[in-house]
Every structure is written in C-alpha cells, then in structure tokens.
C-alpha cells in the first residue's frame, strides 16, 4: 500500500532524512521557519505511518534571576569593588570608605569582600587601628565564575545537564549566592524510525488537505483527491448578530392570536385622551382619587379636548348626577363639563373601549360584538422594580344580549387556557365601572404559583346606557397588564427590564 502524506509532512521527512540524528523539536521548527505545533503535527502524521517518533526528556533549565542579571550587566560585587580600587589607583583603603564609595548594600559588600579574599586579591588588617584593605595581587585575570556568568549574555537560558564539569562547579558556587532560577521543562526530540530512514520519497504520494471546497475543485472534480480538514464540531460557533422580534411583541402577537381565535376584532384608539372618555364615560365621579394628579398624567398642551355629540355628553352628565335613564341613583353631585374636557395620557385602554361603545351608538350596530385591544397606557408612577409610568394593557369586551357572569367566567377560562394557564380562579373584586366585578388569578405550572392577572366584570348600566346599550344587552369586560404575564413568562424580576433592551437578553431569550 502506498503511503499518502501531506506536502508539508513530506518536506519535513526529507529534511529529517538528511539530518540522520534526532532533533530537538523546537530548534528544528525554528530552522525550518515553521510553527512548533505544525512540526509536531507532522511528526504525528509520520508516527501514524510508523515512519517517525519522538521522545521526551525532562531538563533543568537555568537562567539568571534579577540579581544575577544585574551582575551580568555591572559585574559581580567583587569585581565592582576591585574596579573601584584600581580606578582610584589606591593600594590600600579604609573598609568603611570603600563601603560608602561602592554604594553597595552592606550584605552584598561583605560577600564581595570575602570573594576578593578568596581570589587572593586583597588582605585585611587592623594593625593600624583602623580596618584597612590592601590590594596584594599584581594581576587580575578573569575568574571562572565571571566567565561562566558571561555565557548567559548569548544564551539567557541554559540546560544544567549540558554544562561542562567546570561550569557545573561554577554554577554551584553562584547558585549558593542565589543568582539563578531553575525550571523543569520537557523537551521533545524527534527522529525517524528505521522504516522512515529507509523509505524512498518516490514511494510516497502527496495527500492534499484543504479547509474548504472551492468551486474550482467541484467543477474540475479534483475535490476527490482532497482531504477536508476536520473541525472541532463540539465547539460553539462565533456569535451571530442576527435579527429577531422583541419578546414582548412575541407575547403580544400570541395573545392577539388567542383573541382572534375567539372571534374578537382588534381596535385601536387615541393615546392623548379626553377625561370624558378616560373617566367620565366610565362613571368615575369627578372627585374620584384615581383622577388625581398623582395617578394621572394631565397635559398642558393640548389642554382641552372636544367632547362628542351634545346629547351623549348630557346623557353621561345625567348618569353622574341622578343616574339618568340607567336605573341608578347616580353619584348625586354637580357634574362639570370642563373637568371632562381635560386632556390626559390615557390611564387604561378602556377609554378606547368606550369609544367603541360610542361608535356602537352612532352606527346603530347589531350585537354580538367582540373587540380587544393590546396597547400602551400611562400612570403617574415613579419607576421601580414593579411599577412603570408606561406599560401595556390587554383588554377584551363582549357586547351581547343576555350575556351574563357565567359566560364571562367561561370566556376568561378559555382565554387564559389558550394563553397557557390551565387553572383559573375568579373571585369577588371591586372596579369602579363593572358590577358584578371579578378578580382573576391563574395557576402557573412552571412556578407552581397562583398569579394575579387582573380585573373583569359586567359594565355598569351607568356606563353603557348613555350609548344606548340597555338590559338585556350587556357588556362583559376584562383587562390586565401584559407585564403581569410577561414577567413570569420570561423569568424577569424587574419590570423595567422589559423596556430597556439589553441586547444580550434580546438575542438569548427564546420565542
């Protein structure tokens, strides 16, 4: 069987054949100007065909530490002292004086002095009463340690086992002076097996490996002879910066679909709204706390809204003052038209629902009518982890003859079941414009918790009668904040997260 090898491996094989002896891998790579990794990969290919191999050898690498490098630069302390004495041309000197002149650290100075004595360069005497140093040698040939330390100029790291006997002695001397760092390292030597040494290059076929298939390879058919470089398929790819819809939009669209499937038609109404449609038409008395500044955004511009047809305004006025023809006692106070003309940022989508009731009257519509709205509303709130000044409300209504509370419970169960909540509970509640009213909570399997959803009920006759909707025609209604579903659904703890767009989250959040 012929052996197939990559072009580069063949080239390396040729070089190795010429070398005859084993080679230090790192040096070999340097020599060939290739990466160490490439060289080792080539050896692995050779090993696969039993042509080559490598062996590992543990070595002690030695190099000068900071102090050692300092001496390499400026000379060992003994040499520094000697130089000092010879330059100032003195044969004798007071030790203290030399110490000061040398600017050496005390300890190092004494190490230097002791080595000068060992080298038989000086002698010391206190005969005159002071501690004096006498230069006694005539010549000062380079010492062996000096020679040794200087070898590190060319080779910052050397291998201990490669030192000569004498050098090892010098190393041990200097090592005692703590001038070296030692490091254990593994070196790889590469070699050819007998098969590798004897194989004829002409018997080896070139294997071509590529990282991708080109159009040229396909058309020429040469793809057959290429070997596709394997990838590490377990590793994640780089981040794809692609487009995606916002999680809240996904949820809104899901809920829109639920409404549509239940026969509801989507409506849309003004954001800047009159107090008339936002409050008065909903039978909220004009002194109701919800209408106050701390709950509602009022506008300075535009400041007043036009009211609908006069007779409808008077009908709403009458429900407030004496119940009008709704069968109610009314709130029994004097209703003020200017208060109703104030402009607000709508506090709920129910103002849009009211406009639908007004349309119902105007167009003399036929029942049943089912409409829904998922849209932005505004409340004068300070932002914190559970409050926003602007959020999204979901609302649905049914206008039909003889619809009742039982129908509403059925409707709510079906609606929340379709969204994904199988269990629902409806309890007595209070909302100013519905009676009977119900609070709705659903069970969320994923958290094992009951979640408060929102309010529901049958619109009060005081709300519907000005628009010609009278018993037995009634209006079922329910509504809630979208965020109450979105937060547990997307596992957010802070409601503000939903509107600050952290791109990382937007990219990672599943649909």
């Amino acid at each position: 069987m012929t052996i197939k090898l990559k072009k580069q491996v063949i080239e390396i094989l040729i070089v190795l054949k010429k070398k005859k002896t084993e080679q230090l891998a790192s040096l070999f790579a340097k020599e060939l100007s290739i990466d160490y990794i490439v060289a080792m990969a080539a050896i692995n290919d050779l090993i696969d065909h039993d042509l080559g191999g490598f062996r590992e050898e543990e070595i002690n690498q030695i190099s000068l530490n900071e102090e050692g490098r300092n001496y390499l630069e400026n000379g060992l302390p003994e040499n520094q002292l000697l130089k000092l004495m010879r330059e100032s041309n003195v044969k004798e000197i007071n030790m203290e004086e030399l110490l000061v002149k040398s600017k050496l650290d005390n300890q190092i100075f004494y190490v230097g002095l002791s080595n000068m004595r060992k080298n038989c360069w000086i002698t010391q005497s206190q005969a005159t009463g002071e501690n004096k140093i006498f230069l006694i040698a005539e010549e000062f040939p380079e010492t062996d340690v000096e020679k040794f330390i200087k070898t590190f100029k060319a080779n910052p790291t050397r291998v201990y086992s490669k030192l000569s006997k004498n050098e090892q002695v010098q190393f041990n001397l200097l090592n005692r002076r703590k001038l070296f760092t030692k490091e254990k390292k593994t070196q790889r030597y590469i070699f050819l097996t007998n098969k590798g040494k004897s194989i004829k290059i002409s018997n080896i076929e070139e294997l071509e490996q590529v990282s991708k298939i080109t159009s040229e390879m396909l058309s020429s058919g040469t793809w057959k002879k290429y070997n596709l470089k394997p990838f590490d398929v377990t590793k994640p790819g780089p981040l794809l910066k692609a487009g995606k819809t916002h999680p809240l939009i996904n949820l809104i669209n899901k809920i829109r679909e639920v409404f549509i499937s239940m026969g509801f038609t989507e409506i849309r109404g003004p954001i800047v709204e009159s107090a008339f449609f936002n409050f008065d038409a909903l039978f909220q008395p004009q002194d109701h706390p919800a209408r106050e500044l701390q709950d509602t955004f009022y506008l300075n511009n535009p400041k007043v809204a036009r009211l609908p047809d006069r007779d409808r305004v008077l009908a709403v006025k009458a429900t407030h003052e004496n119940g009008g023809d709704s069968g109610s006692l009314g709130w029994r106070y004097k209703w003020d038209e200017n208060t109703a003309k104030q402009t607000v940022l709508r506090t709920h989508t129910t103002s849009t629902t009211m406009r639908r009731l007004a349309q119902f009257y105007k167009d003399n519509d036929k029942t049943p009518i089912k409409v829904f709205c998922i849209d932005r509303v505004f409340r004068n709130e300070n932002l914190d982890k559970s409050h926003l000044a602007e959020f999204t409300q979901i609302e649905g209504i049914v206008i039909d003859e003889n619809v009742n509370l039982s129908n509403l419970i059925g409707l709510l169960s079906e609606f929340y079941r379709k969204i994904g909540f199988k269990k629902i509970v409806t309890r007595p509640g209070f909302f100013p414009y519905t009676e009977p009213s119900m609070e709705v909570a659903v069970y969320y399997d994923k958290l094992g918790e009951w979640l408060e959803m929102g309010g529901s009920g049958i619109f009060r006759p005081e709300v519907t009668s000005p628009w010609g909707i009278k018993d037995p025609t009634r209006v079922l209604a329910w509504g809630q904040g979208l965020e109450r579903i979105a937060m547990p659904y997307y596992g957010r703890k802070d409601i503000r997260d939903l509107y600050i767009n952290p791109i990382k989250w937007l990219r990672q959040q599943p649909y």
Partner: protein, 553 residues
C-alpha cells in the same frame, strides 16, 4: 386584625388558613399574614368603607358561616340633644349630622380601630376631609344644645387640640397649626369658616380642621358626641352610620340627635333604618346565568347581611339594605350581592359562541414590517413613548418651541416630560445602553409617535413609525440606503419612492435625504451628525432611517 378578636366577634373558632381562603369570597384581599402573632392584614376595599373595622368584617363573616343571617340590628335610643344649624353654613360647609355614644368602655385595640376607621372614612368617603370630616368629643365637657354656624375667620378664638395650649383665631389656626396648614385648602377662598359651639359659647370644633381642646377624649371619657360635617349629605350620613354601628358592635349605646336646619328640614341622626329596593328575580338570574328560586335568592341576600322578602309585585323581591352600606346605587349592585352570597366558586362556566375576529390593519402592517427588518438582520427593541424634550430635540440638534410639544402638566421627572415624535432618539439611547456589546449593532423599532393635531378631537394623533439604526466602524449611508431599498422592495413600493438630498441638523450634510412617495414626505435617511453621536456618548458612526408607516400603508 387579630384572629382572637375576630373569633370573639364572629362567635366561632377561626383558623388563619381557613380565613385566608374564606375572606376572598366576600371580596377581601389579604395584604399580609403573620402566622406567629395570628394577625391578618386586609387590603382596603374602597367600595366597602364598612369593612374598615374587624366589627364590619365580622358581620359579613357571620353570614358567610351562616351563624347569623339577614340585616344586622342595632339598638338605637333617642336623646334630648339638639343641634341647630345656621343657614350661613350653606356658603362654606352645608351639612352636619350628629350622634351620641354612651357607656363606652374601649380597650386598646378598640381605640386603635376607632382611629383607623376615622382615617379610612376621611380618606375614602370624605375625600381627605373635603366631603366629610369627623369630630369625636367628650359629651360631658360641653352643654347642649349645640350650634353649627359660620363665622368670620378672625372673630373667634379657642384653644385647638394638638396646639401649643394657646387660644388662636381661625385664621391663625390655618396659618400656624399643623392640621390647619394641612387642610387649609378646603377652606380656600371662603369668607366665613364653619364652627360648632355649645350653649355657653365654648368651641367644640372648627371643622374640617381641628377640635377644641375642651372636648378631648381621654381614658375617663364615658360618653361621646360625634359630629360629621361636609358637602354631601349622603356621604356624612354614611360615615356617621358606619362609625356608630361599629361603636354599637363594640358594646356602646347609640342615641340619636335632632339636627334642626333653620329654615329647612329637621333630621334625626343617625338614621339606621334599612333602605328598601325592589328587584326582579329574573333580572338577577339572567345577569348571573343562574336559575335560582326566590327562596334561594333570599338566602343569598341574608348571607351577605341584607334582608329580602317577596314583593307585592309578581316576580319581584323587596330588598332591605343596612344603613352602613353606601355602595348600593343600582340593581346590579344587589345582583353582585346575590353572586357573593351564592359563592363565585359555585357559578358555572358557560361559553357563548359567535363573531368573526379581525386584526387591526395597522398592527398587521407593523408585523409585516417587523418581519422584513428581521430579514435585513436588525434586532427589534421596544422603548417608551414617554420621553424628554432634551433627548428628542436638544440631543438631536433640533430647534423647537414649547408650543410644538405635547406637554405633561405633572411629569414624574424631567426624563419623561413629553411623548416622542420620532423613534430615532430612543434607538440612539438603546445603542448607548448597549455600546459595549459586539459590533455591528443593528436595531429597529416599530412603534407609536404622538403628534399635535388640531383636527383631532383630543388635539393630538398617534402614528406608527419604523426606525432603524446601524452602529459600527463602517456604518455609512450606502449601508442604510441598501436597507431602505430592501424594505421598500419588500413593501412593494420600490418603484414609487425617491430620495431628495436635503440638510438636517441631526444628520451629516451630504449624507442625508428625505424620502418621498408621490411628493409626500414619508421619512428620513442618513448618517447621524457627530455632535449628535457625542450627545448620546457613542463612539462609532450611526447610519439610520425613520419611516412613517401610516403614509406607506
């Protein structure tokens, strides 16, 4: 609300878990449960001010547990005490009703209840004392008959409660006294102020501000005089009825007062007579989707502490409503009472089919645009419509007049003082928020802007816009122009639109154009001006576009 106190009132052993479950069915939400100390905190129900005491809640619970059915009764005696009302109060605070409470022996908790019930009534029924203010006095410190009148602010002085112990005239109280300062707004612009004297001219109260020190209630107090003044006779009566029935349930004896309106009616208050209401049986059943018999409905009413009996009118019931219930103004309110008495959990589910649903065309078009933008590789973001004029105009190097803005009269902060007229500033801010993310950042938003419009009923209109922005080292006009071409092609408008080279301070000269379809401007496109980039603290160029989708639909 302590469980043991409630047990005493209800007359039955109660478990905290049982209560947690049961209270929801009479329309009460729990705010907090302290199992260790056996205390329940009930959320205030603005519709039922009579629930602002354990006594009030206990009445309904007794019905729920069927230990006591029908309208609660209260012992009411007549006293000889008379209050005269001078017509001068019509100009400032026209109504007063009063009551006498004898033999009070309140423990610490009951005193606390009395304080909290007053607070609730002041807020919920009284609209922060404007509509109703309550005065509670030591009856034995003053001499009847009493007189409710109105006087010139500086004509009368007395020592107010919680003051420094000095006599002050009414003007001084409004200027200097803590409560005077707090409630002065209620009397703003009035020439005369209301006041209650006793027969020797001692001041009981300066409603709705503060009582005199003379009638301070202490541990020694045995008998109380209640005064409730206000602007709405129904509201003052309701507050008096709730207060006196609660005191009655605490074991005190309630007596009436004769309130003589000079030149008008004489009232005997409190009036705890039941109110009568006629209601059709079929109406109730039809409303609730039930099929209850007369007897069953009567039982439901009794469980929620109302009374009912067969009416002379065929198919009708006469319902009797206790005087502490202020929330019944229509037959639907009684219908809900039946539902609560029957138990919401017993009402069956039923489905009413019918109708064909339809999406709103604007939403459909918005979603279509979103799909196209995602195809172009843009990530969708969502921002608030609320914004600041600084971001909208100053940061964008645009000139504006205050009168061009939607102006919020009471903004939460300067950051949200108007509504957006374009989406792009929000996108630049979103980029700033994410600027350490890997580039390129390509984002878009489809959303509402709000524009002033005299033609609209409310003076403003909303429009759906699309804005897209690309942020990276090489973002330029060519890139965003390609995006626009792609979008327009996908919307089927490729052959209809043109771009006219213009100048705009938000964009770089020579790199900005306005987008037109049939001579109607539908949008803008270009490279953002470096000063704008710096205003938003951005480090790379931005190429952006904004389209008014409603003009393309």
């Amino acid at each position: 609300m302590k469980i043991d106190r409630l047990e005493k009132l209800v007359g039955r052993k109660l478990e905290i878990d049982e209560l947690e479950y049961d209270l929801q069915w009479i329309g009460l939400d729990l705010e907090d449960i302290n199992r260790e100390e056996q205390i329940l905190k009930v959320e205030y129900n603005p519709n039922r001010p009579d629930y602002s005491s354990p006594e009030g809640i206990a009445r309904t619970l007794k019905g729920y547990y069927e230990t006591e059915l029908g309208a609660p009764t209260f012992d009411l005696q007549k006293s000889e005490i008379v209050v005269t009302v001078d017509p001068s109060v019509k100009k400032v605070r026209p109504y007063i009703v009063c009551g006498i409470v004898r033999n009070i022996d309140l423990d610490e908790e009951e005193v606390a209840t009395l304080m909290s019930i007053q607070e609730h009534l002041h807020w919920a029924v009284g609209r922060d004392r404007k509509k109703v203010a309550i005065g509670v006095h030591d009856l034995d410190k003053v001499k009847p008959p009493y007189r409710y009148t109105a006087v010139k602010p500086d004509s009368i002085s007395f020592i107010p409660l919680h003051g420094d112990g000095y006599a002050m005239n009414l003007e001084e109280i409004l200027l200097l006294h803590e409560k005077g300062i707090e409630y002065a707004k209620i009397l703003e612009g009035k020439e005369v102020y209301p006041i209650i004297f006793d027969s020797v001219g001692e001041v009981l109260s300066f409603p709705p501000i503060i009582n005199g020190i003379l009638t301070t209630v202490t541990d020694e107090t045995k008998n109380l005089f209640l005064d409730l003044t206000g602007t709405d006779l129904n509201a003052v009566n309701l507050a008096l009825n709730i207060l006196s029935t609660t005191l009655s349930d605490m074991g005190a004896k309630i007596e009436t007062v004769e309130v003589k309106y000079e030149g008008g009616e004489n009232l005997i208050t409190p009036n705890l007579d039941l109110n009568e209401w006629e209601i059709e049986i079929d109406y109730i059943n039809s409303y609730l989707g039930l099929n209850l018999t007369k007897a069953e409905i009567i039982k439901c009413f009794q469980k929620v502490r109302l009374d009912a009996k067969e009416s002379k009118k065929q198919g009708y019931l006469d319902v009797y409503i206790p005087a502490f219930r202020g929330d019944i103004m229509h037959s639907v309110d009684l219908t809900e009472e039946v539902a609560i008495g029957y138990g919401y959990f017993n009402i069956p589910k039923s489905i009413r089919e019918g109708c064909i649903g339809m999406y709103h065309p604007i939403q459909t078009f918005s979603n279509k645009t979103r799909t196209i933008m995602i195809g172009a590789g843009y990530l969708e973001v969502l921002n608030f419509i609320l914004t600041s004029s600084e971001k909208l105009y100053d940061f964008m190097r645009q000139e504006y007049e205050e009168s061009d803005l939607i102006q919020i009269a009471n903004p939460v902060s300067k950051e949200y003082n108007t509504t957006r007229t374009s989406l792009l500033p929000n996108l630049l801010e979103t980029i700033r928020f994410n600027r350490s993310e890997e580039k390129p950042i390509r984002i878009f938003e489809v959303g509402d802007v709000v524009l002033l419009s005299k033609e609209e009923e409310t003076g403003a209109k909303r429009e759906i816009h699309l804005s897209a922005a690309s942020y990276h080292e090489d973002a330029d006009f060519t890139e965003i122009r390609s995006t626009l071409d792609f979008v327009m092609m996908a919307l089927g408008k490729f052959n209809e639109y043109e771009i006219k080279a213009e100048n705009n301070p938000s964009y770089l000269n020579g790199r900005y154009g306005e987008i037109y379809i049939k001579n109607v401007k539908i949008g803008e496109i270009g490279e953002i001006h470096p000063e704008v980039l710096l205003n938003f603290k951005l480090e790379f160029p931005v190429a952006a576009l904004e389209l008014n989708l409603q003009k393309i639909m």
